[in-house]
């Protein structure tokens, strides 16, 4: 049977926190980095040993690996090599597996890129965010637009044939014209993949505080929708597929690791706060470094909490995640996989949404209609309990 696994490795280090960031990351000391990487390798060893007990199946081969952060490019070439070697020691990484490393412009040079390539990375995801130094400065980014452009061409020179860039829109003080410029610049670099995220404001972060005080003004939902719609038509016109709500790619260049999340295929997450999903189980690691390190020191997996989902809950996830994709989800396959679910009710929900034009069916495939994309939560919520 065809069975595979994805692995996420979390590198929670940054040179500084950006003003909008709520990811698990911090500015580390060199000793912390060393200790953390040792713990990470230890965790992989423990997890590989625990796998048969967890599933009663032998370890499947790993077809996607994703090093996310934080800023994984803060690791040295040797450290990166060491981590990926550690992974390969305990897990069978399939030949041709997609191995993505996130990197920030301004933290990568030719030597590092070459080392990453040599360590096995074959996909680079660059946190560009904007091609506008004024906006980059206000976000608290430590790089310029120029450095972002340089990072892309450098990556090409070092042999990366699969490069993605992340962009943010809806920034305080960002006009539609600013966003068009950023998109045009992005397209000019011909990346294989572009992620476009509307800014989310989180209460604890510097911008959350300013927004609560009314000191920064954020775009209203009409401007947001205009930006979302423009992105879709512009990038689609430039030959990109809008394959997921926030993601675009050249044909065939979907992020295979991320597809796994939306298609609900198994993955293990290693590192601080990393999340895992196997079948109907989800669990998550400790988010505080001392707790994470302490668990591993005593030879235990650093799991903080988890849940065992019911069939109904899993099926809800199948819809909530699968409908994020342009290709939607295969209802026949879902019916085969979850025969015991309450299908009459699910079909009723689908019929209701179809009647108001929020979803459409195409053979066995169910997907969001065009107009539903910007309001997809209205659809997702319908599939919950």
């Amino acid at each position: 049977m065809d069975y595979d696994l994805g692995i996420y490795l979390h590198i929670p280090f940054c040179r500084r926190k950006c003003n909008y960031c709520d990811f698990l990351s911090f500015v580390p000391s060199p000793e912390t980095v060393t200790a953390y990487l040792e713990a990470l390798k230890q965790e992989m060893a423990l997890a590989a040993a625990a796998w048969p007990r967890l599933t009663s199946f032998p370890l499947p081969s790993v077809t996607s690996v994703y090093l996310g952060g934080g800023t994984p490019s803060l690791l040295s070439g040797e450290q990166l090599q060491d981590v990926l070697d550690g992974l390969r020691r305990h897990f069978g990484v399939a030949p041709g597996a997609e191995i993505t490393v996130e990197a920030n412009p301004g933290t990568v040079d030719a030597a590092w890129l070459a080392a990453a390539e040599a360590a096995g990375a074959n996909r680079l995801s660059l946190g560009v965010q904007a091609f506008n130094d004024r906006l980059l400065g206000s976000m608290g980014r430590l790089h310029t637009a120029r450095e972002a452009r340089d990072a892309v061409s450098l990556a090409r020179e070092c042999g990366f044939s699969n490069v993605g860039i992340d962009l943010i829109y809806g920034l305080p003080g960002q006009s539609l014209a600013d966003w068009r410029e950023t998109l045009a610049e992005a397209v000019g670099l011909v990346p294989e993949h572009i992620s476009c995220y509307g800014l989310e404001i989180h209460p604890g972060m510097p911008w959350g505080v300013l927004a609560a005080r009314g000191e920064i003004s954020l775009p209203d939902e009409d401007l947001w929708e205009e930006m979302f719609g423009f992105t879709d038509s512009f990038l689609t016109g430039c030959g990109y597929r809008h394959y997921e709500i926030a993601n675009y790619c050249r044909p065939g260049r979907e992020s295979r690791h991320n597809l796994r999340y939306w298609q609900r295929r198994d993955y293990l997450g290693f590192g601080l706060g990393a999340a895992s999903m196997v079948g109907c189980r989800r669990w998550r690691n400790h988010e505080k470094l001392p707790a994470y390190l302490a668990a591993l020191e005593t030879g235990k997996l650093p799991v903080a909490d988890g849940e065992e989902m019911t069939v109904a809950e899993v099926l809800a996830e199948v819809f909530i995640l699968g409908l994020r994709l342009l290709n939607g989800l295969d209802l026949e396959r879902a019916a085969r996989e979850f025969p015991e679910a309450d299908w009459p009710r699910v079909r009723q929900t689908i019929a209701r949404l179809e009647a108001v034009g929020l979803v459409e069916r195409c053979g066995p495939v169910l997907r969001l209609s065009r107009r539903a994309w910007p309001v997809a939560n209205e659809v997702f919520a319908e599939f919950l309990g």
Binding site: Y8, Y197, G198, E200, E221, D222, W224, E225, F228, I245, A246, N258, R260, Y261, W262, Y267, G269, G273, A274, A275, M277, R282, R284, E307, A316, E317, I320, L321, R324, V356, L358, W373, P374, V375, A376, N377, E378, F380, A381, L384, G385
Partner: protein, 604 residues
């Protein structure tokens, strides 16, 4: 008990002038409760009462007091009175059970509207009034000025005035002595057939409805077969007793005394306040004067937020009514809200209390429609109907005349705010009656106001236009002709029955405008545009629109986020459950009260 040694009295005061604290002091001083047992405001029992600092249900407490002048022991019955205009009939009946009243006035605030309303009631009931000027320990106390105001406004004998600080216990002995000295003893005849006034009641789940009574003539004891005069129903008395303040049975209650009786009476409806109790075998010739059935003044629809709770709501209302004879309700159906009840209340406070009790004690989530009054509509065929529900408003062509209930309102305010208050009363279609200066700084205004205009927001507006200084009270004053019509609200062209309201035609445009503006603020964006219209008859007089929802999507959703994102979606779904689907438009519960809350201004 020899009636010469009985004194029945009550305490009347404006809210917060210290009535409950003074009552506590009297209990303490006469040893009815010890320092240790002393919980502040013993007489206010219900949580709700304590939270709101007002008295809703009254009680009667017997105090034994040795009068220093003659060293004899007197029986003092303190009859507590509710402190809100909604319950003014109940106040009048408890006053009727007394011979004297302590009129408590705050030495800093002076006379307030409620002080006067209560004092007038006491005078009407021929009570001897003892002025008590309280809070004299406060730095701003002006007892002399307060005395002057009392003398001027009420023509009271100020010789009897007692100065107190109930908080510190000052003046308590003087108050007790004044009660014996100035309040006349009861003058009933113990040999006459029994006549006892019901001045309050409560429901005890073990012993049924328990009336509080004042025996006027004759006597009553366990075994007596009594008859309730208005209903004609008879019961055998199981027990008579008093509160001191703990419940205590006594062998009998005789002329002049105050207490309770238990007779396995099923509902408080059977023992209405103001009714007379007599004996079956030798009944009194006639009832005591002053009984009238209580009529609800304010009406609204109460609906369970969850349609499945209809039966639970019915059960809860049935239970509440056991305890509250003035609550009336009947089932009604709304296209928008489903099955619910049309409920009648004595006033807005009564409504709030009932609603809060339903929610708190019976764990019901309720949607209420905007309150309205009952109109007297004369139809073109000459038939007169009372309409307490906008849904039952006759078509305009069938209406010959509409009369609305009005009240006589008393407002007391510092002179600086007269202009503001006159402007407010004009907006509320008030008719000026007269103005009196209580002192060079304070003025008393009297108006006839439509009850429908004061049941919402009036009190808050009065307070805000007088910086909190004006006080207000009213009494019901009959019906007056008015040009009223029904204002309807349409959502995407469909009328929402639960949002209809009765308005004066001169104000229809203004109210319609306010309503649609407010609704635009509270109705969340939906997947399509929502057009909100206000209409009188077929004529649309105001329009607003809620733009369609443009954004509702979690853009970032990766492996680590799924659990958190699901929680967000669940929260969103929970929020939606609180919306009510009307046609294909989903509206929040607060929309049904939109007419009460003029547009905030800081909306979107």
């Amino acid at each position: 008990m020899d009636q010469r040694f009985i004194r029945n009295f009550c305490i009347i005061a404006h809210i917060d002038h210290g009535k409950s604290t003074l009552a506590d002091r009297l209990l303490q001083h006469t040893g009815a409760i010890s320092e240790r047992e002393m919980v502040n405001q013993v007489l206010d029992q219900m949580d709700l009462e304590r939270e709101r600092g007002i008295t809703i249900k009254m009680q009667a407490v017997r105090l034994e007091y040795q009068y220093p002048e003659d060293e004899l022991v007197y029986q003092l019955n303190l009859i507590d009175t509710p402190g809100h205009v909604d319950f003014s009939y109940e106040v009048s009946r408890s006053l009727a059970a007394c011979e004297g009243a302590l009129l408590v006035v705050d030495a800093v605030q002076g006379i307030e509207a409620q002080t006067l309303a209560n004092a007038y009631l006491a005078i009407e009931n021929d009570l001897e009034i003892i002025p008590v000027i309280n809070k004299i320990d406060l730095p701003g106390a002006q007892p002399d000025q307060v005395k002057e105001e009392l003398e001027k406004a009420l023509g009271l004998d100020m010789e009897r005035t007692v100065l107190t600080s109930a908080k510190l216990g000052w003046g308590t002995p003087e108050v007790l002595a004044a009660i014996v000295k100035y309040v006349p003893p009861p003058r009933g005849n113990v040999r006459e057939p029994l006549r006892a006034l019901i001045f309050d009641s409560y429901y005890d789940s073990y012993r049924g409805a328990i009336p509080y009574i004042r025996v006027v003539d004759g006597e009553i004891q366990a075994g007596t077969i009594i008859k309730i005069m208005a209903t004609g129903k008879s019961y055998e008395v199981d027990e008579v007793g008093i509160f001191a303040p703990a419940r205590r049975t006594v062998p009998r209650l005789s002329a002049g005394e105050v207490g309770y009786l238990a007779a396995s009476i099923r509902e408080v409806k059977d023992i209405r306040v103001g009714d007379t109790i007599t004996v079956v075998d030798k009944p009194a010739a006639g009832p005591l004067p002053g009984y009238r059935p209580v009529r609800p003044m304010v009406f609204c629809g109460l609906y369970p937020a969850d349609g499945g709770d209809f039966d639970a709501l019915r059960t809860a209302l049935d239970k509440l009514q056991l305890n509250d004879a003035s609550l009336v309700y009947e089932p009604e159906t709304s296209k928008a809200l489903g099955f619910g009840f049309r409920c009648g209340f004595l006033g807005l406070l009564h409504q709030e209390i009932v609603q809060e009790r339903l929610e708190r004690e019976y764990h019901l989530e309720l949607i209420s429609t905007a309150p309205n009054v009952a109109y007297r509509v004369t139809r073109t065929d000459g038939q007169v109907v009372m309409v307490d529900n906008p849904a039952q408003w006759p078509p305009p062509g069938q209406i010959a005349m509409v009369e609305e209930p009005v009240v006589k309102a008393t407002i007391i305010s510092p002179t600086a705010y007269i202009g503001n208050l006159m402007d407010l009363t004009a907006q509320k279609r008030g008719r000026f009656l007269q103005m009196d200066y209580l002192s060079p700084e304070r003025v008393l205004l009297e108006y006839i106001l439509p009850l429908g205009e004061i049941i919402f927001a009036f009190f808050d507006q009065l307070k805000s236009r007088s910086r909190g200084y004006a006080s207000f009270d009213y009494e019901v004053a009959g019906y007056e002709e008015a040009d009223m019509g029904r204002l309807d609200i349409l959502l995407n062209g469909e009328m929402v029955d639960a949002l209809s309201t009765i308005v004066h035609r001169d104000k229809a445009y203004q109210v319609g405008r306010q309503l649609v503006t407010r609704l635009r603020e509270v109705i969340p964006r939906q997947l399509f545009e929502v057009v909100i219209q206000a209409a009188v008859g077929h004529k649309v007089i105001a329009r607003e629109a809620v733009k369609p929802l443009r954004k509702n999507v979690l853009e970032k959703c990766y492996g680590g986020d799924v659990t958190r994102k699901k929680k967000l979606l669940e929260k969103q779904k929970e929020g939606k459950k609180r919306l009510k689907a009307v046609g294909n438009v989903e509206i929040p519960q607060e929309a049904f009260l939109a007419v009460l809350q003029p547009s905030g201004g800081q909306g979107r």
